[in-house]
Symmetry: C2
Subunit: 405 residues, 2 copies
């Protein structure tokens, strides 16, 4: 059982971080460069966007992660370093600057960028800021790092959890940034996770993939998959637990804690989606397979019609059924039950694939809350899944349609 504690990426032992304004962005009050550092080499794993158009930092990080070991991550916001001819070279140079300042092998430094697609990233401000940034890393710097990776996110995202592994207290922490729009291009989802648990790097990779499939890959603000999406997890073993080398009880507890951390980050990212006023969690139960459950949850969660209805607090179950029907999943539509839940109560609106009489006032009260669960119970099996999303609002259109006009 994972317990929430204060802090983020520096909550685990042996991790420090810093975030500064170096000048990639013009706004001097906005931090734009971050470092996350482990005091010793850490096992590391990553999951990358499936978009064929990929940011150069992802290619470099992937190469540096071939041995499963890393000790630092350098991240900038402002420019995505994507679709630029000199991207790989510049991403390598960012790693080299951080490696020099931290006295690490360049191969142990990972890199990530978020911001405008197209422009070549300018290294001068990064080079000038790096010595001070490296000198500034501290336990307190985690929040500065969380701020430095933000783009038009309206709140910073950082969480930490404690879990007991082999009788030893271990900590997991994370920061993330989401769905804010950077002129003239699209959002990036970046997430950096740290833990002082000791775990074999192959198992770390397995745990990360397992959890990401169930959390970040179930997250959608508008269905557009960014070019720079990236989740990186470092485990430095500083907690002193017996190294997890097989899929035992400790592994299961670690995965559960990682899942809790990532799900909370997802909720925060979804709720802060562009223009969003509401967090939507679509929970599917009773599906034939996990893949079917995920397909249905994602389809419902992504429906523009339903997202707009949720903005209007309209218990529009037909749109839920419609999105289940066209999802492509194997489902008996005559066995579908749909309910809406929030802290104000719950209302069931559809049973056996058909509408039932319900109290519209209760439904309106339930849906007027800012965190809504769309619960879908199927009669096809016992697989389940959750998708994370948000409503579709005037502000989404404003942010994405008007920002250069």
């Amino acid at each position: 059982m994972a317990i929430r504690i204060d802090g983020g990426v520096t909550a685990p032992k042996g991790f420090t971080a810093a975030g500064v304004h170096c000048g990639i962005r013009r706004n001097r009050t906005k931090r734009d460069l971050a470092l996350i550092v482990s005091d010793r080499p850490a096992s590391a794993a990553a999951v990358y966007t499936q978009n064929l158009v990929k940011g150069a930092p992802l290619t470099v990080t992937k190469a540096h992660l071939e041995n499963g070991i890393a000790q630092a991550i350098v991240v900038n916001s402002g420019i995505a370093n994507t679709c630029a001819a000199d991207g790989i070279e510049k991403a390598e140079a960012m790693c080299a600057l951080a490696a020099d300042a931290l006295h690490l092998p360049v191969n142990d430094v990972l890199v990530a960028s978020t911001g405008v697609i197209g422009p070549s990233i300018v290294l001068d401000p990064i080079e000038a800021a790096m010595p001070a940034l490296a000198a500034a890393v501290s336990k307190e710097g985690g929040t500065d790092a969380a701020e430095a990776i933000m783009t038009t996110d309206t709140v910073k995202k950082e969480f930490a959890f404690r879990v007991t592994l082999g009788g030893v207290d271990c900590t997991l922490g994370g920061i993330a940034k989401g769905s804010g729009m950077i002129a003239p291009n699209m959002a990036t989802m970046l997430c950096f996770l740290t833990t002082d648990a000791a775990i074999d790097s192959a198992l770390l990779d397995a745990a990360l993939h397992e959890v990401v499939g169930d959390t970040f890959n179930m997250l959608s603000v508008d269905g557009d998959t960014s070019t720079n999406d990236n989740v990186i997890l470092m485990a430095n073993g500083a907690a002193g637990n017996a190294v997890i080398t097989e899929k035992n009880e400790d592994y299961a507890a670690f995965v559960e804690a990682l899942h809790t951390l990532c799900a909370d980050l997802c909720r925060r990212l979804a709720k802060d989606g562009e223009g969003a006023t509401k967090l939507l969690e679509t929970k599917v139960y009773g599906a034939k397979s996990v893949e079917d459950a995920r397909t249905i949850a994602r389809s419902v969660n992504r429906s523009s019609l339903l997202k707009a209805a949720m903005f209007g607090a309209d218990a529009n179950w037909g749109r839920v059924l419609c999105a289940i029907g066209y999802s492509g999943a194997d489902v008996d539509v005559k066995g579908v039950k749909v309910s809406f839940l929030s802290k104000a109560g719950s209302v069931t609106v559809c049973e056996n694939g058909a509408g039932i009489v319900f109290d519209e006032d209760v439904a309106k009260t339930v849906l007027t809350e800012d965190e809504i669960v769309i619960e879908i119970c199927l009669s096809d099996g016992d697989a389940k899944a959750t998708a994370y999303g948000c409503d579709l609002t005037y502000d989404y259109v404003k942010i994405n349609g008007d920002y250069r006009t």
Copy 2:
């Protein structure tokens, strides 16, 4: 070469139609029941929604079309006759009422409905109106039928084309209704096509599937596939051409004319999409396969980010590249060229997968028009495809979020 002529579904010889207000809708000025009739049995073919949640009329129409012959279509707007326990029975009863009034075998009558999902359809007003409706069918009634199938469409959609087949003038006509929202549920795309050309029913089916794959299946307002989408084509042979029984020159000319008709209906449907201010046509050239071309065109056309940018007249090529990259198609992203075209001119914004310098003022002028072509040239082969869509606007959110509040 097909030539546009006046009229719609009654332009071909031997077809008549009518549309009246029968009372399914409360608004007495809105026609809600239509009949389309051929003066002789016609070859007929249909394409149905792929949504697993299907309106009852589709099931009945499919059964009545098993022999490939039909002579009339009865259509109502107001209630979709979907997700109601007595749906099949009521859809059969609608066919029987029309068959009685027209003195036809019930099996030769097809049925379609659009409107609210859930409620049971009430037959009384249909029964009361049917004798007068059947008596009223005429050449002039095509437009009344086009109006009767509308929901919140802001303009009626009807077109007709003339084409020479085996030296004989033949006519194709069609009416369609699209993306208007009916409380409390989703839109339906209905299209009814008629022709006086003589063509074997298996070839008619082949022609319709070929053309729909390239037109209606490439149309998206918001990516939500309705439960009642349906395209029906009747060919009664009244023009007197030699019956088309093989894939010869006449078949090719017929397919081309049918394509022209359906593409024009798609453009009209897309431009009148919910809240839309602009028609977007995404044209892909140089793809590895037709399937890749269609996948890319649909992905770009459906991107909420790009649709919002088009609303804002923002030449946001990164969003085009992003949607190409996540489409799932096999594409060399380093070989992508993107241009925006309209009647105000054209501007190329991306070459070899990277941005190029372009005149922002020219781009703004091009994109301020109400019909935009997004042209994507790939370097992977010679397959091509076009997708039809519209921009994402405040009014889309208003129509779909606020209409019950």
